[in-house]
């Protein structure tokens, strides 16, 4: 592929941002790129809300006594933190923002297959989100994001129905996005864009979409059953009504474990793009990385009961689910090894997106390996429902997903906004996030093994030092997340105009102007090259020291 020369014209070109103005041009848009920006604004808003609750939780835990707030307030704070972050940030963040913006561009299409359904997804998300905010402002929920029965159906008097409905709507938004992606990837690829030429970002989203459309309906049904038991005393989960509380846990985790892969798989796709570009190499073992995404999606559906080893399932069920859980470790290991091998004899630059990718690898390795601890039955009995679990899933879901998201946002920022972000600040932020993250969550592994249960509002004094470390880290981490919000917003107006392909990156999205026009491609592209053809690109642009304007 020959990359068009980077030209920044003096006259303003028409693009998807300046084509139309006004509120309605945004609220009624069917352009996947504008919808991606709507999502960008909304997930950032919810990240902020969820972050505030996280900060409240960490502040309360500074001291062993319950002193900052009431026990009920604390319980609502961690519940709202979990619900907002899981349903309204982590699940949509990469697919709905980066996936929405990039999938059509990457496969050479002018939009997603169903542009109007895409807009509907965003409205469902916003309605669900508004309901969540309303629920929050009028009393909140205190069940934890897991809604365990019979507490949620018969004992709490908080706003379960409303929060459930909010998650239900967010779920349908997620299903529609997944459906849209699957059809788009099957039907809208440009001529020559075969499955084996797809960027791994697209493969990862394909796998994610499968989980979204197969898993999400189960949680939707479960939420309805909880509502029916709560409102009409239909005995499904409450033993007093003849129900079975473990049935709830099976149904809940049947979705919510694969949901973890909805959060992490798209991020893995981002990491593949970043590592290839900044090592100037084709991803090592492309086929294995692509198929491991599908492998994770499939195996991810048969490991759910590893959340229930001490919950009252039989010894033999526990054995089977432990063994299956180890199986899901294999595709994750394959990915990690291939990313590492890609860097071998590469030509590596440490721009901010690559720093985030390094951060992702560093945190994902720790998160993945501690997952092995939890899959081991003998250890899980001791550490489940303690801070060990809290640390583990934050390493995967926050360390993994958020690092990759930030890396991706920086990488494609020039394409999305037509502006360059300030590189120095971005590198500093990546460093702060990495340090802050580890300081926040590493002590929690120790805290868990010494026995501090999760969701504790007050705790025995010997746990205090580790909690102080964690809260200190959270403060640094919060700062690290604020920085990109500030300088990226700043750069939208004051950043240097971006060339079309500032990284000399491979991929169709870099062949169009920055920002792209509404229909992406002036004419339908014809693909004649393999993915990640960095070798050919670098023959055209022989290893310039600084392809990106600083």
């Amino acid at each position: 592929m020959s990359t068009p020369a980077a030209i920044v014209p003096a006259v303003e070109r028409e693009d998807y941002l300046n084509k139309e103005y006004g509120v309605w041009s945004w609220l009624l848009t069917v352009d996947h790129k504008r919808i991606a920006l709507l999502y960008l604004a909304s997930v950032t808003f919810f990240f902020f809300i969820g972050g505030i609750f996280a900060l409240l939780v960490r502040l309360e835990l500074l001291t062993p006594a319950g002193d900052l707030m009431q026990a009920d307030t604390y319980n609502k704070a961690f519940t709202m933190h979990g619900m907002v972050m899981v349903f309204f940030f982590l699940i949509p963040v990469v697919p709905a923002v980066l996936g929405n913006f990039l999938i059509p561009l990457m496969i050479g299409a002018k939009d997603l297959a169903f542009p109007r359904i895409n807009l509907l997804s965003w409205y469902l998300y916003i309605f669900g989100g508004s309901l969540m905010v309303h629920c929050m402002l009028t009393g909140g929920v205190d069940t934890g994001w897991t809604f365990y029965t019979p507490f949620s159906t018969a004992f709490t008097n908080t706003k379960i129905i409303e929060a459930g409905l909010a998650a239900f709507m967010a779920g349908f938004s997620s299903i529609l996005t997944g459906l849209n992606f699957i059809v788009t990837i099957h039907r809208m690829r440009a001529p020559g864009m075969t499955w084996s030429r797809l960027p791994l970002f697209v493969w990862a989203h394909y796998a994610t979409s499968i989980i979204q459309i197969l898993g999400t309906p189960v949680i939707a049904i479960t939420i309805l059953l909880v509502a029916a038991e709560r409102l009409f005393h239909l005995g499904v989960f409450d033993p007093k009504l003849g129900g079975d509380p473990l049935l709830f846990q099976h149904l809940f985790w049947f979705y919510s474990h694969p949901a973890v892969y909805i959060m992490i798989l798209p991020s893995m796709g981002v990491i593949s793009e970043l590592i290839a570009c900044f090592s100037r190499k084709r991803i090592f073992g492309y086929n294995f990385v692509a198929l491991s995404s599908i492998g994770i999606a499939v195996i991810g559906f048969i490991v759910w009961a590893h959340h229930m080893f001490v919950a009252g399932i039989s010894l033999y069920a526990a054995l089977i689910f432990s063994a299956l859980t180890y199986l899901v470790g294999v595709p994750s290991a394959i990915k990690t090894f291939n990313w590492t091998a890609t860097m071998y004899k590469g030509s590596i630059r440490y721009d901010a997106p690559m720093l985030y990718a390094f951060g992702f690898l560093g945190l994902f390795i720790v998160g993945g390996l501690t997952g092995l601890f939890l899959a081991a039955l003998g250890i899980d009995v001791h550490v489940t429902d303690t801070y060990f679990v809290v640390a583990h899933f934050h390493y995967i879901m926050v360390g993994g997903t958020l690092m990759a998201y930030l890396g991706g946002i920086h990488f494609w920022w020039p394409k999305i906004t037509g502006r360059l972000y300030p590189e120095g600040w971005a590198r500093l932020a990546a460093l702060i996030v990495f340090v802050g993250f580890n300081l926040t969550f590493f002590p929690q592994f120790i805290l868990g093994y010494v026995g501090m249960p999760r969701r504790y509002y007050q705790y025995p004094p010997e746990f205090q030092v580790l909690n102080i470390l964690s809260t200190a880290g959270a403060t640094i981490l919060g700062l690290g997340y604020l920085l990109p919000m500030i300088y990226l917003t700043w750069s939208m107006r004051y950043g240097k105009p971006a060339p079309d392909n500032p990284w000399h990156a491979a991929g169709l999205e870099w062949t169009v102007q920055s920002p792209p026009t509404t229909f992406n491609f002036p004419q339908e592209p014809v693909v004649t090259w393999e993915a990640y053809n960095y070798d050919e690109i670098d023959d055209v642009h022989p290893h310039e020291e600084a392809p990106v304007a600083r």
Binding site: A71, N75, P245, Y326, G378, E545
Partner: protein
């Protein structure tokens, strides 16, 4: 015992050392793996940093490498799984000679009843070296019985029994936490396990008993009119209960179930669920008439009815007379 900065919980049960050994094995493997990967990443990042005039060397993957790093972890995983499963079996198989303690959890306290009749709240006294089996249920939501020093935890569910066992190995006072979120005072649902030397424990036992749990159960058995039908001579409308505990029972539909604590509990709360072959479904439910504590006493009593003990038969004989009278009232409800 309570330092300000513990890195390791105390080891105070027979399984704690195995769990710690398992944990250390995992720590070694993962620290090794992390160090190796971090080293390679940092080495590659430094060694292959972009330099003017040097182009990346393209690669086309390697099937041998792919297969080896897909298969090699599997061997490690199999070892991890097996080691974890062995320890789990140890944690989950209560020895036959264990003394039993009935645990009833409720928002937000633990109620514990010893077989000898001592009742405790949020505190459990046990002798060192004795196998203890906990038979646990909840009056409301799901709780979880967690003793970090024992490395053990089991959820406590409403409407059924879950079983947990331990053998304390070191005298001392250890945390008892509720580990499953259960509402407002979840973090206040804590208590302690007091592990005592046998002599001390004996002294402790001598005070505060209201008589053995099975005796209380026997009283209930008579008050509720159970003995009217569940007669010793097997001529009653219900099956005789002596020696039934732990034995397989053939049901009306041909299935066989083992009469464990959960079966006894279910047969009292929901008698129609599993009818013993040869009997009619005539027993009324005792749902709402028997509290979780009383249920514990009843189960303890039925378990105490060993067939071979003549003393029990004598006990039974003395029961029958007042039972008849109580039975009418009990069944009318």
């Amino acid at each position: 015992m309570f330092d300000n900065f513990p890195l390791w919980p105390e080891q105070a049960s027979s399984v704690a050392a195995s769990v710690d050994a398992l944990y250390i094995f995992f720590l070694i493997v993962s620290i090794g793996m992390t160090a190796l990967l971090y080293f390679i990443l940092i080495f590659f990042a430094a060694r292959y940093r972009r330099q003017p005039g040097i182009k990346a060397t393209p690669n086309e993957g390697s099937l041998v490498l792919e297969l080896s790093w897909s298969i090699a972890p599997m061997f490690v995983f199999v070892a991890m799984f097996l080691f974890g499963a062995v320890v789990f079996f140890q944690e989950r198989t209560p020895p036959k000679d264990a003394t039993e303690v009935y645990v009833v959890a409720k928002q937000w306290m633990w109620k514990l009843e010893h077989m000898e009749g001592q009742r405790e709240i949020n505190e459990l006294h046990v002798p060192v070296g004795q196998n203890v089996k906990l038979i646990m249920t909840s009056q409301d939501v799901i709780h979880s019985f967690f003793v970090p020093a024992f490395r053990l935890k089991t959820d406590v569910l409403p409407g059924r029994y879950t079983i947990m066992w331990f053998r304390a190995t070191k005298p001392g006072t250890y945390h008892l936490f509720c580990a499953e979120y259960c509402g407002t005072q979840h973090s206040g649902m804590i208590g302690s396990i007091v592990v005592m030397e046998p002599a001390q424990y004996q002294a402790w036992t001598n005070g505060g008993s209201t008589g053995p749990l099975s005796v209380e159960g026997e009283k209930l058995f008579s008050e509720l009119g159970c003995a009217t039908c569940h007669r010793q001579d097997a001529q009653g409308r219900g099956p005789a209960l002596a020696g039934v505990f732990g034995r397989p029972v053939t049901l009306e539909d041909g299935r066989t179930v083992v009469a464990d604590e959960n079966y006894l509990r279910e047969s009292i709360m929901d008698p129609q669920a599993k009818i013993v072959r040869g009997y009619k479904p005539v027993m009324p439910t005792f749902q709402g008439l028997v509290t979780d504590e009383q249920m514990g006493a009843l189960v303890a009593y039925i378990k105490s009815l060993a067939p071979a003990k003549p003393a029990d038969v004598l006990n039974k004989a003395s029961l029958t007379a007042p039972d008849r009278a109580a039975a009418k009232g009990g069944q009318a409800r």
